[in-house]
């Protein structure tokens, strides 16, 4: 029997699952954002699975367009996955229920700048996980600004 049970409550309009993945599928950062509501549609494992599956779609798209913001690249039930690729091919992936394209684009752009700053540290190598608490605070602040 399936160990993973999904409960489809009414669409949860303010939950987001955000992941930064470096080339080679290396996990750099992940964060759950929930604003104003409790409970989520999918379990954490499911969210990771959905985002990981969406990475293949990003790989397909990445050479056919010069945009960094790829917008929605995949759907799963009531969830969408949006993607943004930086010049050094780092993927910003966001799983979301609400389709607020402008907010998502602005979120991606600001997190991209934040990532660039993290990259500037000589003690950080591309592909490594980002563990800074300050980075986490800033990502949360950016999410709150655009999705809260």
């Amino acid at each position: 029997s399936c160990a993973c049970r999904l409960s489809y409550s009414a669409a949860n309009m303010s939950s987001y699952f955000f992941v930064i993945v470096a080339p080679g599928d290396k996990p750099v950062y992940s964060e759950d954002f929930r604003f104003g509501t409790s409970g989520r549609e999918e379990s954490m494992h499911m969210s990771e699975f959905i985002v990981h599956a969406a990475l293949d779609h990003v790989d397909d798209t990445v050479w056919r367009t010069g945009s960094m913001n790829l917008r929605v690249v995949d759907k799963f039930n009531d969830s969408f996955v949006s993607a943004y690729v930086t010049p050094s091919n780092v993927r910003l992936m966001l799983m979301h229920s609400a389709r607020n394209e402008d907010s998502i684009r602005n979120f991606f752009t600001e997190v991209h700048e934040l990532y660039a700053k993290a990259l500037m540290s000589p003690f950080y190598s591309p592909g490594e996980p980002i563990k800074s608490a300050v980075f986490q605070q800033r990502v949360q602040a950016i999410a709150k600004r655009h999705f809260g």
Partner: protein, 186 residues
């Protein structure tokens, strides 16, 4: 009270230049440091390239954000153009002198510099032969190419002429994967 972190520093600042002498001093120390840890000239060039690569990936992200570009490069000419104009201007204050495609093979390109910045104040003793400290610059180019999805072999060659004793060519040879993709996108 909050300490200033790397995240507080602005990404975009008014034109910021570092004194060439400071950089030359740092660069010469780096070369001397590396010299104690290698046995052969190619190893020294490799160390310089590795150091350059670490700069390359950072310069790639930083220059794109500072130019407020919303595009990524997906074609060879695009990324080489980005390197010889945007990256060069950011690092050296001017564009590269020339970008050429090899006549013999379709996977080779050459970036030429009459007088590379780093190399001006370095004198290479005869026993170090063909060493080009522009290997550091080659490393920067390689860092940009590898991380933007255009892996390549990048090497620096000192090609002096009477008129230009410091003339240097950076040779870029793209991996076969890149050429295949480039052909399929054409």
């Amino acid at each position: 009270m909050s300490a200033r972190s790397i995240y507080d520093r602005p990404l975009r600042r008014p034109r910021q230049e570092v004194s060439l002498s400071s950089f030359a001093f740092l660069f010469s120390e780096f070369i001397q440091y590396s010299q104690k840890r290698i046995q052969t000239i190619p190893e020294l060039e490799e160390k310089l390239r590795e150091a350059g690569e670490r700069v390359g990936v950072r310069v790639l992200e930083l220059c794109t954000l500072r130019e407020r570009a919303t595009k990524r490069e997906t074609r060879i000419l695009g990324i080489l153009s980005f390197i010889t104009t945007v990256v060069w201007r950011s690092l050296f204050g001017r564009q590269a002198e020339a970008l050429e495609k090899s006549a013999e093979t379709d996977d080779e390109y050459m970036i030429s510099e009459r007088e590379p910045l780093f190399v001006k104040s370095i004198s290479v003793p005869k026993d170090l032969g063909h060493l080009s400290c522009a290997s550091f610059t080659a490393g920067i180019v390689k860092g940009v190419l590898d991380h933007s999805g255009f892996p390549a072999r990048v090497t620096a060659h000192h090609v002096p002429t009477d008129a230009q004793p410091l003339r240097t060519t950076i040779l870029v040879k793209f991996d076969e994967d890149v050429m295949e993709r480039e052909r399929s996108l054409a």
